[in-house]
C-alpha cells in the first residue's frame, strides 16, 4: 500500500524487504532496510542509526577550553573539524575574537582536511562502488597507458611499464592471500561497467592517493604541533610564528612554511591531474546511472565556512557558501541562522527519545536527550535482535533535525547546489565546465554521481583556496604581524556567569554545528548536530523522509541480494559511523551483511 510523504516521495512497503547491516565490533551503528518491487526497484527506504552517542553528557561539567580535545575523539576521520567547531562555539559564547593569522591557519587546516577526506573517501571507499580491482588484473598495461594519456595528458605517471609494475604488485599481493578486498566484493555483479584498463588506471591511482595522503597530513603536524590529534586553542591557534630566527621549538619558521607550500602544490596537482580526470573518466561510463538524487534537487542546507577575514561570518565573506534551498526552488537561497530557535529543530517522533512535549521540535540550545527505546508493533525480532524495523514507530537513535520543518541534505553536493544557485563564481564555473565536458544537463548533478563529482570539484577548489590563505598568511607575516592567539579572555574570571554560543563549520561530510551553554566557567550543556544526523535522519513528525532514505528511492537493483546500488548511494554521502571498530581480530570479516526477507 502506498503513501506520499509531504516532501514528495511515494512509499510502498509491500515488496520484498532487504536489510543491509554493517558488521562492526559494536554491532550496528547504521543500517538500512528497503522494500523492492518485483522489478527490483526500491519503493520504500528506512535508514537507522542503531547507536546512541551522547557526547553531550560526557562534556557536562568540563572546562569549555578543553571541549575541543574531547570532540576530536568522536571520530577518527574528521578530528580537526570537530575541534574547530568546538573552539568556534566557545569563542562565540565568550565573545572572543581571533587574529588574522589564526583565521588563515585554521582555514588552511580545514581546507586540508577537506582535501584529505575527499581524496581518501573516493579512492579508499567509494571507487570500489564503480571500479572493479579484480578486473584490473586482466587489463592491458599499454591500453591503460593510452587511456591515462587521453584523460590526463599532464600526469607524469602514465607509461605502459608503470602500469605493468603496478599490476604485478597487485598480483603478488593477491597471491599472498592477504587481500580480502579482492575476495569479498560483488565483483561479478553486472552493475560494474568499466573496461579493464579503466579499472587498472583507477586502482593505480588508489596507490598514488595513499602516497599523497601521507604528505597532506603533515600540514596538521606543522600547525597543530602534532598529528594525529593536533592541538587547537580557544582564541586562535597554538603555534607561535617566528620567521626571524630559529625560534622556539615548534614555532612556524620559513622552512616550515616552505614545506606547507610544497604540500599545497602537491594537492593542487593531484586534484587536477588525477582525481578530477578520474571522476570524469569513470563518470563517463556511468552516465546513464543517474539514481540517488534524493533530496539534493529539493532541499539542501549549508552553514558556509572559510571566512576570508577573521571573525566575519557574513555570507558574502565565506568561500564555502551558506544558505538553504527548499522545494527545489533554485531561484531563492534562504539565509541560515543557527541561533534562531525557529530554524534548526530536532524532532524525535521516530527516534528513540522522548521530549516533555510530544511532536514538538527543539532547538539544540534547548536540546533534550532522554532515551526511550521501544519497537513498533510491526517490527520483527526482539529488542536485542531486531530483524526488521517498524518505520511507522520509533526506529533510530538518530534524531531528525529539520530546517524550518524541512528534511535537508548536507555535504559537498548541498554546498555546490547552494553555491550554484547563489551565483558563486568559482562553483558555477566548475559545475558548468564539468557538465559541458560530460555533455550532461544541470539536472544530472542531482544524483549519486553528482555527489561524487561535487566532492571532486570541491577538492580542486579547496586546493586553490589553501594557496590563497597561505599567500595571505605569508603576506601578513611579512607585514610584521606574528600574532596567532588572543588570550585576553583566557582566564575564566573574565567570563560572564552564564553564556551560550554556537560554532558552525562545513565538515567534509556537510554542515556541522556545536551548541554550548557555559555556566560558572563550566560546560552546562553541549549539543552536536553532525552531518550524518541530517543525512541519516529518520522520518519526522510530518512524515518527511531523510536524505539517505530519499536517495535510495526508485533505484533499480540488478541483484537485490547484492546491494551494490545501495552501498554506492550511501557511500556517496561519506557517512559517519562511530570509530570504535579498531579492535584487532584474527580473521578477516565482511563489513556488511545482507538479508533478504
Amino acid at each position: 500500500m502506498g503513501i506520499t510523504t509531504p516532501n514528495g516521495f511515494n512509499l510502498d512497503n509491500s515488496g520484498k524487504r532487504i536489510v543491509v547491516d554493517p558488521v562492526t565490533r559494536i554491532e550496528g551503528h547504521m543500517r538500512c532496510e528497503v522494500n523492492v518491487d518485483d522489478q527490483g526497484i526500491i519503493r520504500n527506504a528506512v535508514s537507522t542509526g542503531t547507536m546512541w552517542r551522547g557526547l553531550e553528557v560526557i562534556l557536562k561539567g568540563r572546562d569549555p577550553r578543553d571541549a575541543w580535545a574531547f570532540t576530536e575523539r568522536i571520530c577518527g576521520v574528521c578530528t580537526g573539524t570537530h575541534a574547530l567547531t568546538s573552539v568556534r562555539a566557545v569563542e562565540d559564547a565568550l565573545g572572543i575574537t581571533i587574529p588574522d593569522n589564526a583565521n588563515s591557519i585554521r582555514n588552511i587546516m580545514q581546507l586540508n582536511l577537506q582535501i584529505h577526506d575527499h581524496v581518501v573517501h573516493f579512492y579508499h571507499l567509494h571507487a570500489l562502488d564503480w571500479v572493479n580491482p579484480v578486473n584490473a588484473l586482466r587489463a592491458d598495461p599499454k591500453a591503460t597507458s593510452e587511456l591515462q594519456q587521453a584523460v590526463s595528458p599532464n600526469h607524469p605517471l602514465s607509461s605502459p611499464g608503470y602500469f605493468r609494475d603496478v599490476q604485478n604488485r597487485l598480483k603478488a599481493f593477491v597471491e599472498s592471500g592477504q587481500l580480502g578486498l579482492f575476495k569479498n566484493g560483488y565483483w561479478d555483479n553486472p552493475a560494474y561497467l568499466l573496461p579493464p584498463e579503466a579499472d587498472l588506471m583507477a586502482t593505480t591511482h588508489y596507490l598514488e592517493a595513499l602516497d599523497l595522503q601521507k604528505e597532506i597530513v603533515k600540514i596538521h603536524t606543522i600547525f597543530g604541533g602534532k598529528n594525529p590529534h593536533p592541538n587547537w586553542l580557544v582564541g586562535g591557534v597554538p603555534c607561535p610564528i617566528n620567521v626571524h630566527s630559529t625560534g622556539a621549538v615548534g614555532a612556524i619558521n620559513m622552512e616550515r612554511l616552505n614545506l606547507v607550500s610544497s604540500i599545497i602544490d602537491k594537492c593542487i596537482e593531484f586534484n587536477r591531474n588525477v582525481y578530477l580526470p578520474d571522476v570524469v573518466a569513470i563518470g563517463g561510463f556511468y552516465k546513464n546511472w543517474l539514481y540517488g538524487g534524493g533530496l539534493s534537487g529539493k532541499s539542501v542546507l549549508a552553514y558556509g565556512d572559510i571566512p576570508e577575514n577573521a571573525n566575519d561570518f557574513s555570507p558574502a565573506q565565506l568561500h564555502l557558501p551558506r544558505g538553504a534551498i527548499i522545494n527545489g526552488n533554485l531561484n531563492e537561497v534562504h539565509d541560515v541562522d543557527q541561533r534562531d530557535p525557529e530554524q534548526i529543530q530536532e524532532f524525535v517522533d521516530h527516534s528513540w527519545y522522548e521530549y516533555a512535549e510530544a511532536g514538538k521540535g527543539l532547538h539544540p540550545w534547548d536540546g533534550e536527550t532522554k532515551p526511550k527505546y521501544e519497537l513498533g508493533p510491526n517490527a520483527k525480532g526482539s529488542r536485542t535482535n531486531i530483524e526488521q524495523l517498524d518505520e511507522a514507530a520509533k526506529y533510530s537513535w538518530i534524531k531528525a533535525p529539520r530546517w524550518k520543518g524541512n528534511a535537508m541534505e548536507v555535504g559537498p553536493l548541498a554546498r555546490y547546489v547552494v553555491g550554484y544557485a547563489s551565483g558563486h563564481e568559482d562553483i558555477k564555473n566548475q559545475v558548468d565546465g564539468l557538465l559541458g565536458t560530460m555533455k550532461l544537463p544541470l539536472t544530472a548533478i542531482f544524483s549519486t554521481l553528482g555527489r561524487t563529482a561535487a566532492r571532486a570539484l570541491e577538492s580542486e577548489y579547496c586546493g586553490r583556496l589553501q594557496k590563497h590563505f597561505f599567500d595571505k598568511l605569508v603576506q601578513n607575516i611579512k607585514n610584521g604581524d606574528e600574532s596567532t592567539a588572543n588570550v585576553t579572555k583566557w582566564d575564566p574570571s573574565t567570563w560572564p556567569k552564564e553564556a551560550k554560543g554556537v560554532g558552525a563549520t562545513e565538515a567534509p561530510r556537510g554542515a556541522l554545528g556545536h551548541w554550548v551553554r557555559i555556566k560558572d566557567g563550566r560546560i552546562e550543556n553541549y549539543q552536536c548536530v553532525v552531518p550524518t544526523t541530517w543525512n541519516g535522519s529518520p522520518r519526522d513528525t510530518a512524515g518527511n523522509i531523510g536524505a539517505f532514505e530519499a536517495s535510495l528511492m526508485d533505484t533499480k537493483m540488478e541483484r537485490p541480494e547484492e546491494p551494490v546500488e545501495i552501498l554506492r548511494t550511501l557511500h556517496s554521502f561519506d557517512p559517519c559511523l562511530a570509530c570504535s571498530t579498531h579492535v584487532m581480530s584474527p580473521e578477516g570479516q565482511e563489513m556488511a551483511r545482507v538479508k533478504v526477507r
Binding site: T24, R25, I26, E27, G28, M30, T50, M51, W52, V57, I58, K60, G61, R62, D63, D66, A69, F70, R73, I74, G76, V77, T79, V120, H124, L125, Q178, L179, G180, L181, K183, N184, G185, Y186, L210, D211, Q213, V217, G225, K226, P228, H229, N231, T384, L567, P575, C576, L577, C579, T581, H582, V583, M584, S585, P586, E587, G588, Q589, E590, M591
Partner: protein, 202 residues
C-alpha cells in the same frame, strides 16, 4: 639492534576498554625513560593517518584491545606475520578502517615494519561511551608494559625506569586520571537505553 621503533597505542579512549592501547602508551611514558629512536604514539582511531608513522619505523609494538574470543582481561601476544592484516571489503563507511587495514595497506605499499609485536588484551566492556577502563583490563597495563620492555630488550634496546617525552600522547584533559575523574554520574549521563548496548536495562 633495531634503529627506529614505534610504540603505538590504538583505540578510542571514549569507549571504555577500547582505550586500553592508548592508556598503555600513556603509562609507558610515565614509567620508562626511552632512548632516542623509540617513539611513543597515541594513534587513536586514526586508520590511514598512521601510515607515515609505520613507514618511518623498522619495528613496531602495538597495544590494542583485541578480540580473540578469550576470557575478558586475558592478554594475547601476536608477532610478525601473525599480526592480522587484511582489507575489509563491503565497508559501509570509511570509519570502518581498522588497524588491520592499515597493516595490509602498509604491506601493499612496501613499508610494513620488519618486526611487529601486538600486545593485546581482551576487553571486558566496550559499550560504555565516555567510560574508562574496567578494573580487570586496567590491571593488565603493568604486564603489558613489561612485555614491551622485554621485546625492546630482545631488539637490543635497554630502557630504564623514569619518564619519557610524550608529544605524541593525548592532551592533558584526556589523560586517564583527568578523563575518568571528570565523568558525570550514570544518571546525569543517561547511560541507559538501547538494550543491545546497555544490557542492564530489563
Amino acid at each position: 639492534m633495531t634503529d627506529r621503533v614505534l610504540i603505538l597505542g590504538i583505540g578510542n579512549l571514549l569507549w571504555a576498554d577500547e582505550g586500553f592501547g592508548v592508556r598503555c602508551v600513556e603509562a609507558m611514558a610515565q614509567s620508562y625513560a626511552l632512548p632516542e629512536g623509540v617513539t611513543l604514539l597515541d594513534g587513536g582511531t586514526q586508520g590511514l593517518y598512521l601510515l607515515p608513522f609505520l613507514e618511518a619505523a623498522d619495528a613496531l609494538i602495538v597495544f590494542d584491545a583485541i578480540d580473540y574470543g578469550l576470557p575478558p582481561g586475558t592478554m594475547k601476544i601476536v608477532r610478525d606475520d601473525e599480526v592480522p592484516a587484511f582489507m575489509g571489503a563491503k565497508k559501509m563507511s570509511l570509519h570502518q578502517t581498522g588497524f588491520q587495514d592499515v597493516i595490509a595497506t602498509a604491506t601493499l605499499m612496501g613499508y610494513r615494519p620488519a618486526k611487529m609485536v601486538l600486545i593485546g588484551c581482551q576487553p571486558v566492556e566496550l559499550e560504555d561511551f565516555g567510560g574508562g577502563l574496567r578494573p580487570a583490563v586496567a590491571a593488565r597495563i603493568p604486564q603489558a608494559l613489561e612485555i614491551a620492555r622485554a621485546t625492546l630488550a630482545d631488539w637490543g634496546i635497554t630502557v630504564t625506569e623514569g619518564r619519557s617525552r610524550a608529544e605524541g600522547l593525548a592532551q592533558a584533559p584526556l589523560l586517564r586520571d583527568a578523563y575518568e575523574a571528570g565523568r558525570p554520574s550514570e544518571d546525569d549521563a543517561c547511560r541507559i537505553g538501547d538494550a543491545r548496548f546497555f544490557p542492564q536495562v530489563p
